[in-house]
Amino acid sequence: MKRASAVLLLIVALALLAPLVAPYDPAAQLDIVALKNSAPSFAHWLGTDPYSRDVFSRAVFGARTSLTVAALATLLATLVGCMWGACAASVSDRLGDALMSVVEVLRSVPRVLVFLSVSVLLGPLSAVTLALVLGATAWTGTSRLVYVLVRDISARPFVEAAQAVGASRWRVMQRHVMPQLLNPIVASGALLLADILAVEAGLSFIGLGVRPPGASWGSMLQDGLPFLQSAWWLAAVPSLLLVATVLSAAGIADRLESTSAGHADAKKRRTER
């Protein structure tokens, strides 16, 4: 947990301080003849790419794009998922069932299809659109989690007790149900972040995501693929950053999930599924 948080914090700090940390402009082609694919050196810590751009600067600015898009998308997905799940759990059984059936159907439409349609319709996506599309396709898991948890908690004795002494529906939700949701939702959010980071990188990698000359880890990988043999650092740098971020986010999620007390039964249900 500590190590994972440290790695994640370091990468977030790099992204936030990108203009201060990066020695060069990430999109500047420094010297297309002399500095094409040059190996890591003191002047260029992580080498340069086929267009003579500084890989370290691109990686740092790429972190900015990748993390911003993923964070926005995660926030959106978590919000929509929570609202949908909570609504489905608090309305009548029949309506709730219908709402969750919609989620089931949406879950079984592969996300790739949505990305493909959107990129055919809109052409190159801006970072905000990308985050919107990623978020709009990622909320179903959260809504299921929230639905199950809210129904679980609402059936507990203390909720019944609160209702018996005359607490309003909203007060029960706010004071008795919502605090219990916080931990699992944060855990699932961290996992979602890891997942969305990977998906965004994949999209940029196949050319459906962030467009050149903008840098994201996925598009840096795309640039590096043809030079796997002659300039390995082009692919290695974004790969390692991506893996480090994804693993630490997933590690934090894992830890949060196992420490969130009082949800043993919900967790058991999840592993049984």
């Binding site: 159907v105 996300r111 493909l116 390995w232 693993l247 997933a250 599924r273």
Partner: protein
């Protein structure tokens, strides 16, 4: 069982309606129409295009066009590709067969590896070696598929030179080689992409299998089997293993939509000429009919395979037959 089947069928139909509508709206919302895009339309006059529009029914109300599109899709007619004027179904079918070879190889390897590692881990929880392998698989699960693909490509294909760097076969061997040589060549080409898919997917199977085997290894029926003198191996194979089939099937069923996305990207890294590569090229060329057709085909594939897996779970595990789908 029958009512469950109809419920699931309804679900599959709903998925297909979404996919077909998505496909239709692509064709009709994308800028331009079949008469403005495409190589085949170059050099025609505006009047000629208008006449062709009328002939193709592009002036009809949208609802009529939608029913036409659906009827065409039901008959297997998805229009023609803008880039080479081939029927979309032909284009997709060629690519789909190749994709299925790769995805099938990956899935079989993933299930085998996952069952093996998961069972070993669950049956011998104290063994450090098994725990290490399981932990490594879990770490690989978090690594995006294309990063894994690039790492394998960089080390085993470019670095060590043990495997070809991409494609489905060697052009010389496929023309001149004997049947055995061609077969070996195909195996060498499919190995790395299939391994990439298998390593990523097997972790989910292994995790489920470990939990299930650990549960049943302490269950009464396994203790009884040991007590009556069956060997450890027989207790595992005949008593513990059968109870884990349904949960593993469920995991595979949940994975299916994600598998599609993963294999698209792996195909691109390894230059595998399958559906994924085809679709990405079609997007780049704005070949709308191919993209919309691919959406329908992929959705159909996913819907059918999830349906089959859900039915299979009910067949192998009678307890599941009374459980409602989204609360299980």
């Amino acid at each position: 069982m029958v009512s469950f089947f109809f419920r699931r069928l309804l679900h599959a139909i709903a998925v297909m309606v979404i996919a077909v509508t998505l496909g239709f709206s692509l064709v009709h919302l994308a800028p331009g129409d079949a008469m403005t895009g495409g190589v085949m339309q170059a050099g025609r006059t505006t009047e000629a295009r208008d006449r062709m529009r009328a002939n193709a029914g592009l002036n009809l109300p949208l609802s009529t066009q939608y029913t036409r599109f659906v009827r065409g899709a039901l008959r297997g007619d998805l229009g023609r590709s803008f880039t080479d004027d081939q029927p979309v179904v032909t284009v997709l079918w060629t690519a789909l067969r190749r994709s299925l070879v790769l995805a099938g190889a990956g899935l079989i390897a993933a299930i085998a590896l996952g069952l093996l590692v998961g069972s070993a881990q669950g049956w011998y929880p104290q063994q450090r070696a098994f725990r290490w392998v399981g932990g490594a698989l879990t770490a690989l699960y978090a690594v995006p598929e294309f990063v894994l693909a690039i790492a394998l490509l960089g080390t085993l294909a470019y670095g060590a030179g043990w495997f070809p760097v991409g494609g489905m076969n060697d052009p010389v061997t496929s023309l001149l080689g004997s049947a055995t040589e061609r077969y070996a060549d195909a195996l060498r080409h499919v190995f790395l992409p299939a391994l990439t898919l298998a390593l990523g997917w097997s972790a989910a199977v292994a995790r489920q299998q470990r939990a299930a085997i650990a549960d049943s290894s302490s269950a009464d029926f396994v203790r009884t089997a040991r007590a009556k003198g069956r060997s450890e191996f027989a207790a595992l194979i005949h008593h513990a293993l059968p109870t884990t089939v349904a949960p593993v099937l469920a995991v595979i069923g949940l994975m299916i939509p994600a598998l599609v996305g993963g294999s698209v990207i792996v195909e691109i890294v390894f230059a595998w000429p399958g559906l994924g590569a085809q679709v990405v090229h079609a997007v780049a060329a704005r070949d709308v009919p191919v993209v919309s057709g691919a959406i329908i085909v992929i959705a159909l594939l996913v819907a059918i395979s999830s349906l089959l897996i859900d039915m299979a779970i009910r067949v192998v595990d009678p307890r599941q037959r009374t459980v409602r789908s989204h609360e299980s």
